[in-house]
């Protein structure tokens, strides 16, 4: 089973890297880009665990290790 976890800054936190990417896109003429938020993607390959247990432990891993809850939020899903 593979899961994909997406970590990004909370909306209340400025993301200067995302701003820089946005400015680059605007400079290139993609004027329809209203905002860019940059984040991190983690793909975890799991074994010896059923889906119910994964659903319990993945948020724990994300909260404890992958994201800093003061500045970041996360979402995740099981990859097909």
């Amino acid at each position: 089973m593979k899961v994909r976890i997406l970590v990004s800054f909370k909306n209340s936190v400025l993301d200067p890297q995302g701003q820089t990417v946005k400015n680059a896109l605007l400079t290139l003429g993609y004027g329809f880009v209203k905002d860019v938020r940059q984040g991190k993607v983690f793909e975890l390959d799991l074994e010896g665990i059923d889906e119910a247990e994964a659903r319990r432990l993945i948020p724990e891993i994300a909260d404890k290790v992958l994201a800093n809850p003061i500045i970041e939020k996360f979402s995740w899903d099981i990859m097909p």
Partner: protein, 230 residues
């Protein structure tokens, strides 16, 4: 006073810090390996600058799971002194021993230069040799030093006088230009509520000898040696 400088894989200011404490300030100072569970009876634990565990994931994020951090947490809970310098400050934030988090510098540049800092609280164990409002010139060297905390936390640390150092100009004025990395409320260094744990982004060990370009960092280190809040 006995100091212990924690060595993580990727620490790169550990030897400088030991040198400043032992050779310049004549203190008893030893290295502490991050995988041990032994503080060797030190009075003050120093988390030095560098890139612990390569700063992969986030600055300080992996270091918080180093075995020795259990003892460091217990030491802090007993009122023992802990000083986190630069990467060490980032580790203290990740450990939750200090409030807040670090974001990338506002200009997205690694900043390596002298800055001027205003002493906000001279009554801590880390600043008792400073005057309130004194301007210290100490170098920084970091990519992630843009201090962030939610507004409520910022109000709390201000109310408790936990902000010890702010980025300021040479006259001690808080300006946007002087706040080189974009830190909220220009925060460069702060203590925990109990006052025994301090984190700061500037490197006092790099300003401890005239040969290095300045000695203002000794104000911080000598305050710890004096060892009491005044």
């Amino acid at each position: 006073m006995k100091f212990g400088v924690v060595v993580f894989p990727g620490s790169n200011c550990d030897s400088d810090t030991l040198h400043a404490l032992r050779d310049v300030l004549n203190q008893d100072a030893v290295f502490l390996w991050h995988k041990d569970h032994d503080l060797k009876g030190v009075d003050c634990v120093v988390l030095p600058g560098g890139f612990a565990h390569g700063d992969y994931l986030r600055s300080g994020a992996i270091a918080k799971f180093s075995p020795l951090m259990r003892e460091v947490g217990e030491h802090a809970a007993r009122g023992g002194l802990v000083l986190g310098i630069c990467n060490g400050f980032q580790v203290l934030l990740e450990l939750g021993l200090l409030p807040g988090a670090m974001l990338r510098n506002k200009n997205l540049k690694f900043l390596c230069r002298f800055v001027t800092l205003r002493v906000e609280n001279e009554r801590t164990v880390f600043t008792n040799r400073a005057r309130k409002g004194q301007v210290l010139r100490i170098p920084i060297a970091h990519f992630d030093g843009n201090y962030y905390a939610p507004p409520k936390v910022l109000d709390d640390v201000e109310r408790n006088s936990q902000v010890v150092l702010r980025y300021a100009d040479e006259q001690g004025r808080l300006t946007e230009e002087a706040n080189v990395n974009g830190s909220m409320r220009s925060i460069a260094g702060l203590v925990n509520k109990a006052g025994n744990v301090m984190g700061l982004m500037p490197h006092p060990e790099r300003a401890s000898e005239a040969l290095l370009g300045g000695t203002d960092g000794r104000v911080i280190l000598e305050s710890v040696i004096r060892g009491r809040a005044s």
